[in-house]
Symmetry: C2
Subunit: 464 residues, 2 copies
């Protein structure tokens, strides 16, 4: 047994007990104190180091609890039988950004962005402030797994009034984004599963299903949306559709097709339709079309809505409406999952909706996007000879298809050379075979009217 001589520093930084603890730990780690070796008694060490006995005791206790040393009754402390010791890695350096920086464009017709300049920050801040009062501290405790009951009631009212969907609040599940809800849903639907998707489609869903190990087939998509004959032939039992505004093609599914789709689901047990109603708020002619779910008598439709487009992408908040039978399954099998959205955030959005701010915001955005939409369509008028324009009735993007079969790649590249970013349709292709594309996508939500004018002027030059 060595008498441990530890140079103790009084000048701040580490406490005495911690210095002793660290010293002994290091001695054990580097092998100066060998396994089984007896340590000095606390009494002798405190005398030796001229510190209080409790200081030594604390150090020993820490070493004991971490397993470096062991104590034997009436015998004292010994170095524990530690086979091999691992060091704490020391890593330095700045974090690298996890996403690569995009090249700069003068005008970016991104279909992903939304306009944030018009966001009612003052109202949002005020509402948040009012939610964060002491009386609401209950909001920091665990909430309802499905989402706050009052929030679900508000969503229910909203869905009924604006989407024609009569969703019972108890059938609504709030989650942190569509992606998470799809993960939940996939656990809820058991048995043989084959998903049907259109092509091109919302690729994120395809990737998630793939990553979850599910099988996906693509079925024919005609001018009215998913072709139900092709769907029936595919053998799929779950159809993923965006009837209000197919992404990216912008197809609005007419009532006839909706009814066909519902019939398909009704005629065999275990068939479901997932209705992704991601941007139904933005429609420029007439009022929004009721959701497919609103027509569903057979309880085959799972409705998914989101606040990503209508409020902000960073507000990770979506919801789904499950049929009764599936709700039973939910409670039995996956009701144990906690809600993934902060209660406070839920109440902020609820109050935002109930105060009328949401409606006002939606109307404002609709008017703003409609202006941009009209300006873009006006500017594109001269393009019509050489391009077919589609998907322009709703949403925040439209499509330009070359009538001369100029390849999408060439269109994107030529635009890029003029400093304008347009988006290739092929990015939404989920098929196994490569197809030729002659279509590009132009989003306009995040561009001012002047930018749209100048951007299209450059496109005219690029593609002439």
């Amino acid at each position: 047994m060595n008498e441990l001589t530890i140079e103790l520093k009084q000048d701040g930084g580490l406490s005495l007990y911690e210095q002793i603890y660290r010293y002994i730990r290091e001695e054990i780690r580097n092998g100066n104190l060998e396994r089984g070796e007896k340590l000095p008694s606390t009494r002798s060490l405190c005398a030796h180091l001229q510190v209080s006995r409790s200081t030594v005791l604390m150090a020993y206790e820490q070493l004991l609890s971490e397993g470096y040393i062991e104590s034997a009754p009436h015998k004292g402390y010994f170095v524990a039988d530690v086979e091999e010791l691992y060091d704490v890695r020391l890593i330095s350096g700045e974090p690298k950004p996890s996403a690569a920086k995009k090249p700069a464009y003068r005008y970016d017709f991104s279909p992903y962005g939304i306009d944030l300049d018009s966001f009612p920050f003052n109202n949002w801040r005020k509402i948040t402030k009012n939610v964060l009062v002491d009386d609401n501290k209950e909001l920091f405790s665990r909430g309802d797994a499905q989402g706050e009951a009052e929030f679900r009631k508000t969503i229910s009212n909203y869905l009924y009034q604006s989407r024609g969907v009569a969703a019972k609040p108890e059938n609504i599940i709030v989650g942190a984004g569509n992606e998470y809800l799809l993960m939940l849903l996939n656990q809820l639907i058991t048995g043989e599963k084959l998903f049907a998707m259109e092509n091109p489609t919302y690729r994120q869903t395809y990737r998630i299903l793939n990553s979850l190990g599910e099988r996906v087939v693509t079925v024919l998509q005609d001018k009215n949306g998913m072709n139900v004959e092709s769907l029936a032939k595919s053998g799929a039992n779950i159809a993923y559709v965006m009837p209000s505004h197919q992404y990216p093609l912008g197809i609005v599914m007419p009532v006839g097709r909706r009814v066909e789709l519902l019939k398909w689901a009704d005629c065999k047990k275990g068939r479901y339709i997932i209705e992704d109603d991601y941007d139904s708020e933005f429609r420029y002619r007439g009022k929004p079309i009721p959701a497919l779910c609103g027509f569903d008598k057979g309880q085959r439709v799972i409705y998914i809505g989101t606040f990503s487009k209508s409020i902000a992408p960073a507000i990770r908040m979506s919801y789904m409406v499950l049929p009764d039978e599936m709700m039973k399954q939910y409670h039995e099998r996956i009701g144990f999952y906690s809600c993934t959205v902060s209660r406070i955030d839920q109440i902020v959005v609820k109050n935002f909706m109930e105060s009328g701010c949401y409606e006002k915001h939606l109307n404002k955005m609709r008017a703003l996007y409609k202006n941009r939409h009209d300006v873009l369509l006006g500017e594109l008028d001269g393009f019509r000879k050489r391009f077919e324009i589609t998907g322009e009735n709703a949403g925040i993007h439209l499509l330009l298809k070359s009538k001369e079969n100029i390849s999408e790649k060439e269109l994107v590249e030529k635009a890029r050379r003029e400093g304008v970013r347009v988006y290739p349709l092929s990015a939404y292709d989920i098929g196994k075979e490569k197809r030729e594309y002659h279509t590009v996508i132009l989003g306009y939500a995040n561009l001012g009217e002047q930018d749209i004018r100048q951007g299209t002027e450059l496109l005219r030059r690029a593609w002439k």
Copy 2:
């Protein structure tokens, strides 16, 4: 063709176009207008109804876009070929709460609750307010999939200083709770998977793995935690452990066992350790024990931390640290998932940490919980003859095991009759075979000192 006579109301409510649209839609739905039937021309209808032509046009356009009618060039409008029409269901009534109400107890020794009275609401509100300024509107746009870079840097510093974990910010992934992170992680680990868990254990993880379709074996748990020999025999390749404070038993895994566990993982490719470090902040003797991950040279440990216990359960915010090799997989395979936590909330927590509020809060809570812990242990002193007390060095609960083999059920029931809620250990059992339990759990985070005294007094009476 009928001449449509629609009784139009001018007295608010619906606009004229909407009244026309709704009337025709109803006529189609109830069959008064049959499929293929020609509608009046817009010119004749507007004259008939004495409204402007654009009003009729808008109504027709809405019907067109919803697929109720079709237009034929030079011929006019016809009722579309809609096979069968579904009605919007009308549902009324209040939402039922989705979780059943618990019976009332005078004293509830819940191991789940945390003390919220001590939460620094003023600071939190101030920080939130400062984040929600106009300059920060960028925070409402889509953020980094892994979580905000600056937030991850803050977490990295925190982990290094308080947990001995040298995590590179680029290896950290922020998510809405441990449950979600487990779902992600499960997609990341491919190939044959067999998870090993202790028993009893944190049941939520078991349920999630089950629900994801994964196989889980239970392995022996001795006084030092997961038994590595038993683990090796089980054939499992992924070990789920809580080395800092096993839940629910409260075992602190000594260094020797940690090293053994790391060796197990190192000696075969594809082996991983998931370290759930859920409540390492609350430890009452010595300083917190460094995380297992801090000893990991072989990059086999996936570290999961959370703010649920240390800040508040409703703040759905956890993070995991992945080994380098797994990060590569993450980027290649599942980097497309958006972050599930709102950017604003991330920055609020980041500022909470950086301002020193978090540390202050942790120290305050530690002192508070320690007081309650000490009071409870003091009150339980008289129980020691008949009960073994374990798991009392850390966390916010402890265990009482009957030395007389009184069944857990009897203990819980007798306590209930006195109005005191204690928790059965068997609720954490994930084994296939039923085991006898004589242990109950007493949590103390959410009880004042006076409540603890009175609650234990009642327990003394209940169990005498």
